[in-house]
């Protein structure tokens, strides 16, 4: 039996998985699907023709070197060691480094730059939290073991589990997570900023400034919610893409950061974004410690510049700035808006990934690699920034992302 395996699917990065042959104890259904055998990209390809790894890497280097401003995008499903090399390659090429956050929690990063964040770890949720808020997130489907392992039912040093916790769910529709709630509040889409602001007014003693209805909630409901928030000995607000993907984006996050700051004048509160992929935090942390920024980084002037809305992948593609792209451990063709995908279809694309996906369909050079956490080891950051070492539990003939990045870097600086 292999113990303490880290599941490399969602941002929970559960590190208590035990493998007995192919069976992984403690995995949730989504984690089970991650570890199940499935179709792989069999060999490297150039324009659909099977080639050797050397030929594919040579071709990839040629495309990148002849490009004026290549986009290097993805990174959330690989290890920090590979990301580090990716950042160096982007710098050497004078290209753009961007990562999956730019279509997810980048507004959270922006808001944190403005406001800071009252942060903690998932251990605080488990051991201390007596009021747990899920705002615009649906862990039951997106982070299935979050409620049992860290937040709702988890037993900790100072909590006996569910009976000790008040669970608040706020969303624009009833999700399965709402079934876990003590109180469920249904709000109107695009009203998060207004509601956070109203709650701040109440918490700060300016109840009279709040109108009768805000974002679909009655004033009495808002007061009740504010009182519940204040009643915590140790509160925790988890928020998801319901806050970052709606109108207001980083302003919404700033508002919830300020709400949590205000609550800290009365009791203890922390705020935690529900990060999606198991190492999407690493895809921001690594460039941050390498060059100072987390995403939307341009190296075309020989030094790092950060400009969201300009160097974020979607905008850079739609404007037609990038004339080639290398996609590592991600699938932008499935997840970018249509116009950005249209640009990707026009320029040479290199894909580095274990599984065939929609980006494979449009890629000129495809380089298959080992699956991180199953066939390749390395370091990742859990959603709360705790670094974990993911294991290799199976042998493979596929090279790792790190090996491919090393060879590519060698060819680029040669």
């Amino acid at each position: 039996m292999i113990k303490d395996v880290v599941c490399t699917f969602c941002g929970n990065a559960c590190d208590d998985i035990e493998f007995e042959g192919d069976y992984g104890r403690n995995l949730c259904p989504v984690g089970e699907a991650k570890f199940a055998r499935k179709e792989r990209i069999k060999t490297p390809m150039i324009n659909g023709k099977e080639v050797s790894y050397d030929e594919a890497i040579e071709k990839a280097a040629e495309i990148l070197k002849s490009s004026k401003r290549p986009l290097l995008y993805g990174w959330s499903s690989t290890v920090n060691e590979a990301i580090r090399l990716g950042v160096i390659i982007a710098e050497k090429l004078g290209g753009i480094y961007d990562q999956c956050s730019s279509v997810c929690h980048a507004p959270t990063t922006l808001a944190m730059i403005e406001q800071g964040i009252v942060g903690g770890t998932l251990g605080q949720a488990k051991n201390r939290a007596d009021v747990v808020v899920f705002w615009g997130c649906n862990p039951v489907e997106a982070h299935p073991r979050h409620p049992t392992r860290y937040s709702v039912m988890a037993r900790g040093f100072l909590t006996r589990g569910r009976s000790d916790r008040r669970v608040i769910v706020v969303d624009v529709r009833k999700t399965p997570t709402a079934y876990l709630a003590t109180d469920f509040y249904m709000i109107k889409p695009n009203s998060d900023f207004a509601i956070f602001t109203a709650l701040r007014s109440i918490v700060n003693g300016h109840e009279e400034a709040v109108p009768d209805r805000v974002g679909g909630l009655k004033k009495e409901e808002l007061i009740e919610l504010a009182k519940t928030l204040e009643s915590a000995k140790y509160g925790l607000v988890f928020f998801g893409l319901g806050v970052t993907h709606t109108r207001g984006h980083e302003r919404n996050v700033e508002a919830v950061i300020k709400l949590v700051q205000d609550l800290n004048k009365k009791t203890r509160y922390i705020l935690q974004p529900m990060r999606g992929h198991f190492n999407v935090v690493g895809s921001g942390e690594v460039p941050a410690w390498e060059v100072g920024f987390e995403y939307a980084i341009d190296f075309s002037r020989g030094y790092a510049r950060f400009s969201p809305g300009e160097f974020t992948a979607v905008e850079a593609l739609i404007r037609g700035d990038c004339d080639a792209a290398m996609i590592v451990a991600s699938d932008p063709v499935a997840h970018f808006p249509k116009k950005a995908v249209e640009r990707l279809k026009k320029i040479p694309v290199i894909q580095i990934d274990p599984h065939p996906n929609l980006t494979t369909k449009i890629a000129d050079v495809v380089i298959p690699t080992a699956i991180v956490g199953i066939e390749a080891e390395g370091t990742i950051y859990r959603m709360d920034g705790v670094p974990l070492r993911v294991k290799k539990i199976k042998d493979t003939n596929y090279p790792t992302d790190v090996e491919i990045m090393e060879k590519l870097l060698e060819k680029i600086v040669r």
């Binding site: 989504v30 997810c104 507004p107 529709r173 970052t244 984006h249 974020t312 808006p337 996906n357 369909k361």
Partner: protein, 124 residues
């Protein structure tokens, strides 16, 4: 035809098929929309019928799925699992770098047009 606000998000089925995007299971997981019973009535559609959702960003044909248990979205809100289908009609750029994937206005009407396969949708 009715006017709605579209929201997108992850689902368990989308998560379970994410590494198999060229499979039928993935298509099944991302090519539908959920709406309130009253909206289904207004459109004259039932579970398994098709609707055309349109706005200035584009259009997409999706299956209608009756939500499980009491999980139907409120009237006027349509939920689509994140993925290539939803991305035809969401992703407004507001300048912050992160597209608006939720809370996007659109119209919905009943249609006889076919739901495209995942490959057709990206190659179209």
């Amino acid at each position: 035809m009715i006017e709605v606000v579209v929201i997108t998000g992850r689902t368990t089925d989308q998560g379970m098929t994410i590494d198999e995007k060229l499979s039928e299971a993935y298509m099944k997981a991302v090519s539908f929309c959920e709406m309130n019973e009253k909206d289904m009535e207004k459109l004259g559609v039932k579970d398994g019928d098709r609707v055309l959702i349109k706005n200035e960003l584009g259009e997409v044909v999706l299956y209608v799925k009756k939500p499980e248990m009491d999980l139907q979205p409120p009237e006027g809100i349509v939920f689509i699992p994140m993925g290539p289908y939803a991305n035809r009609i969401v992703g407004i750029l507001n300048g912050s770098g992160t597209p608006q994937y939720k809370g996007v206005k659109a119209t919905v009407e009943k249609t006889d047009r076919a739901v495209l396969s995942v490959e057709e949708i990206i190659m179209e």
